[in-house]
Symmetry: C2
Subunit: 216 residues, 2 copies
DNA sequence: ATAATTTTAGAACAAATGTACTAAATCTTT
DNA sequence: AAAGATTTAGTACATTTGTTCTAAAATTAT
């Protein structure tokens, strides 16, 4: 395995575990087993490492998620996309744990993130439209309502990780699953009966979302 | 005004504006117009300042929000509490912007935050119960569903600020209002007709939440 | 094989920062 | 007014970290 790759892997681990402030070119170099001078030859500083890892994340998301386009969207693909994204974000969780500081320091990353956010907002919109046109999701109750929903889903999608870091002791898949379920439950009130049926089939451990009781 | 107060005020401003990493005992002392030696006499280091400001936040929340107990809970008090909390969090937003790093570094604060989270979760539960018993909110569709709702509201309640910081250019009340509305909209699907009517009265600019269209 | 290029280790430097210390100044109390 | 306590300014030190530089080693190309 190339030195560059080993550096990136170790940097990712250290960033995730001790944060971008505690991980230094020296600490990473030490773990890789090279001199920090050498590390700086490959990556000028920690910011360069962060940018490289961010690009990796985007590449992986592009590869695995952004392929799915409106015609293919159904409940299963929606749930699957969310799951993949959640797991990828978790893999690169240091980015989410430190987003404010990182985007404050690295202006170019801030712009990239904002661009990504705009893109994802659009995709949510299109996704909702697709689900609606397939009779899986209900028409918008009132103008702007699905914008709120989108905002909430975007905020949650970006920020469940910091929350988990602070308030959870567990790590890994348990955590991802916990927040993923909560996240998906946001959709439930807006699904049609048909959508809900599909949703129940798709979401594992699905005692989530039975709705027979309710209605005023 | 006492030196200690002036220090706290300036620290709050600098933390909010440039972050807890860029603000140093020296930069704060300089703005206050005292020597950094003097500042360290009052507050040993920036961590001490952070803790003091956190205690302030908790004091203000206790004072303004935690007074309201279940018997008094209705739609108006719920919306009001949310608004007050959102504005207080925004006042001390550096805490939310840097929560992970802060709680990683200051163990005692981490415990305090987790305790606060547990308390708030309980309060949400009780609030929901109160709203249900008053016929404003519907019974839980399925067991665990309102837990998801609580999780989502807690995550959003803590993390809209980092989101705003990164993706918004505006500052202040505009931002608070934007996220507050989105946050409150989470409740809407679970309100009874009566609850929805009260909600519409209470929430300003309320074209939010009209529901006549929907249902399957 | 030899030259050129890339990679590596290690030293050195500068800047920033928390922390401690000293002595002067100011305020309280008696 | 005098003694004691508190507050303040300024200095000094140790540590950390990013960054640069040099020269050696390893690799690649010719």
């Amino acid at each position: 395995m190339t030195t560059k790759t080993r550096i990136l892997e170790t940097a990712l681990r250290q960033f995730n575990e001790i944060g971008t402030d505690q991980a230094t070119v020296r600490s990473i170099a030490e773990e890789v087993g090279i001199s920090h001078g050498n590390l700086c030859y490959h990556y000028r500083n920690t910011d360069a490492l962060i940018e490289a890892l961010y690009d990796e994340l985007i590449r992986e998301i592009d590869e695995q998620v952004f392929q799915i386009q409106p015609p293919d969207i159904d409940m299963a693909s929606t749930v699957r996309s969310a799951g993949i994204t959640f797991r990828l974000l978790y893999k690169y969780r240091f980015l989410m744990l430190d987003l404010v500081r990182i985007t404050r320091r690295i202006g170019s990353l801030r712009e990239k993130f904002r661009e990504l956010m705009r893109l994802r907002r659009l995709q949510f919109r299109q996704g909702f439209q697709a689900l609606i046109s397939k009779g899986l999701m209900r028409e918008e109750w009132a103008p702007g309502f699905y914008d709120h929903l989108t905002t909430n889903m975007l905020v949650l999608g970006d920020n469940w990780i910091p929350n988990a870091e602070i308030h959870f002791d567990e790590k890994g898949d348990v955590v991802v699953q916990y927040y993923l379920e909560a996240f998906l439950s946001l959709l439930v009130p807006y699904l049609t009966e048909k959508g809900l049926a599909e949703y129940r089939l798709v979401v594992a451990g699905a005692n989530v979302g039975r709705r027979e009781g309710g209605r005023g």
